[in-house]
């Protein structure tokens, strides 16, 4: 196998890796917000259920969760799982990462002193106004570094999609390594991941700069 075939096969895999990455970010970040609200709900039952959900998502391996999401519908309900491979991966990743994002958001929100809520109430802000105009702008700024951490972890975690035999970049690297009895594909994979994460860090730094208010 020539180097260019190797690179183009792995480049194709890289596109699939990117698809997992962007779709997971797209779904898990807003979902994390919803979970965070549920986690802070005034109803105890809702709070406890959400806590359990977060505990399961953080407490079990993502690999296992992916297997459950994909094979679950068949084994539990006898449904046909044809063509369900990719959606299962996206669901698995999004549900898992949403739990982590929820906790990051919560951490951010709980650092805001109670005094700010009281002041907002005195000034006549409604609850929604207080949250969107006063709390959220401060929270977004504070949690960005943690969010960057999580996103970078996601880039590397995409390789877990091999569990469901989705041909993302690292699976292809392993296949090429097997067929060529060579270590080169792993080195290329490493370079791919590094550059992808460098790009993520670069973009996140730009976003942090854009949020450079309240100085």
């Amino acid at each position: 196998m020539t180097l260019s075939t190797m690179l183009s096969s792995m480049g194709e895999g890289m596109l699939r890796t990117c698809a997992i990455f962007f779709l997971t970010i797209l779904f898990s970040m807003p979902l994390g917000m919803v979970i965070m609200f549920l986690r802070r709900s005034r109803f105890r039952l809702v709070r406890e259920i959400t806590k359990l959900y977060i505990a399961i998502m953080r407490g079990t391996p993502l690999m296992l969760q992916l297997l459950m999401w994909y094979f679950g519908p068949y084994y539990l309900f006898g449904m046909s799982i044809r063509g369900y491979r990719f959606p299962a991966i996206i669901i698995g990743f999004s549900m898992n990462y949403a739990a982590y994002f929820a906790e990051i958001y919560r951490g951010g929100i709980e650092t805001i002193p109670k005094g700010q809520y009281e002041a907002a109430e005195v000034l006549g802000y409604s609850k929604a106004q207080t949250f969107f105009k006063i709390i959220l702008p401060q929270v977004m700024k504070a949690i960005l570094p943690s969010v960057t951490n999580e996103i970078i972890t996601l880039v590397k975690d995409t390789s877990l999609a091999f569990t469901l035999a989705y041909n993302e970049m690292f699976s292809i690297a392993k296949q090429i390594a097997a067929s060529q009895t060579s270590f080169v594909p792993f080195i290329i994979a490493g370079v791919f991941y590094f550059i992808a994460n460098y790009a993520v860090a670069f973009v996140m730094e730009r976003i942090e700069k854009a949020f450079d208010y309240y100085k």
Partner: protein, 311 residues
């Protein structure tokens, strides 16, 4: 004014977090082209290094890796179907035999020199009268071939990046013979039973050992034999199975070599200093090259493939 500004920024942040994905998305193509150029230079230098390393290794010892003369045992490779799928198993097995008669089986075998000597079907043993007719299959049926893409020379990525290997080509020929559609379902070997039972594939056909699994599947025809052996560096002082005592031996997880060492050859495995279980043989082989382990338990065809890649 400040309130408005805060509201604006809040709205901006929500859009920005979405657009953030979008904008990093648009940078992705440039990042990947940058990646490929960077990777190609990196890979070129490593490729150059490895050829240099290989040539020095070759001068050190001509044949670098050999199998011990004593083997662990013989096994047969067959096609595994879901329990109860007798009719499907019979049709596919019949088609394989028909391909033996018309010479396709041997022709595919010629392309894979590591397998050729282990093919066990010959035209003399086949009763032509009971085989399915060419084109007798349902043209609307698509046969889903489940296999492991990490298992050369039975199923692996070809030099041009396409999916191939002896089993893949034979299965495609079977589908062509019967007039079925062919769909490849590469899966993760550890999840093969889940894939088969959940019907995402119709068979497991990927250098699949029958021994020890007789009751777990409905078996199709045995189309290849194989021998499990021990692979060692040519200059190693390990010459017999007894010499493995106190040595570190590598094996790939969920393979029949592994099953053997855990079950029928457990006595032998107990003499090892350690049985190291790997995700793939590629990594195990790299460890052998690096001297981190002393031997690898592997079947002869996959082992020969590794050796021919290394020499």
């Amino acid at each position: 004014m400040k309130k408005k500004l805060a509201l604006l920024t809040a709205a901006l942040m929500i859009t920005a977090s979405v657009a953030g994905c979008g904008s990093s998305g648009s940078t992705a193509p440039t990042a990947s082209t940058a990646a490929s150029t960077a990777a190609s230079t990196a890979a070129e230098s490593t490729a150059a290094e490895s050829t240099a390393a290989a040539s020095t290794a070759e001068t050190a010892s001509a044949a670098s890796y050999v199998f011990l003369e004593e083997d662990l045992g013989v096994e047969s490779y067959a096609i595994g179907f879901r329990v109860g799928d007798e009719e499907l198993a019979e049709t596919v097995s019949g088609a394989v035999q028909a391909l033996v008669l018309n010479g396709t089986y041997d022709k595919i075998g010629e392309k894979y020199p590591d397998i050729k000597d282990y093919l066990c079907l010959t035209a003399d043993d086949i009763d032509a009268s009971t085989l399915p007719e060419e084109g007798s299959g349902d043209p609307n049926y698509t046969f889903k071939h489940g296999f492991d893409l990490d298992y050369p020379p039975y199923s692996y990525l070809q030099d041009d990046g396409s999916v191939g290997g002896f089993d893949v080509e034979l299965c495609q020929a079977v589908c062509e013979y019967l007039g079925w559609g062919y769909e490849s379902v590469p899966f993760n070997w550890d999840a093969k039973d889940m894939e088969l039972n959940a019907k995402s594939c119709d068979c497991i056909w990927s250098g699949f050992t029958k021994e020890g699994r007789e009751d777990d599947y409905t078996w199709g025809i045995t189309y290849s034999n194989n021998t499990q052996g021990i692979l060692v560096p040519a200059d190693s002082d390990i010459k017999t199975l007894a010499d493995l005592s106190g040595k570190i031996v590598g094996v790939q997880t969920a393979t029949s070599a592994y099953d053997m060492l855990e079950d029928s050859k457990k006595d032998l495995a107990d003499t090892f200093a350690e049985l190291k279980v790997y995700e793939t043989y590629t990594i195990a082989f790299n460890d052998l090259k690096a001297g981190a382990i002393d031997a690898i338990a592997i079947d002869m065809t996959a082992g020969s493939f590794l050796i021919s890649g290394a020499n």
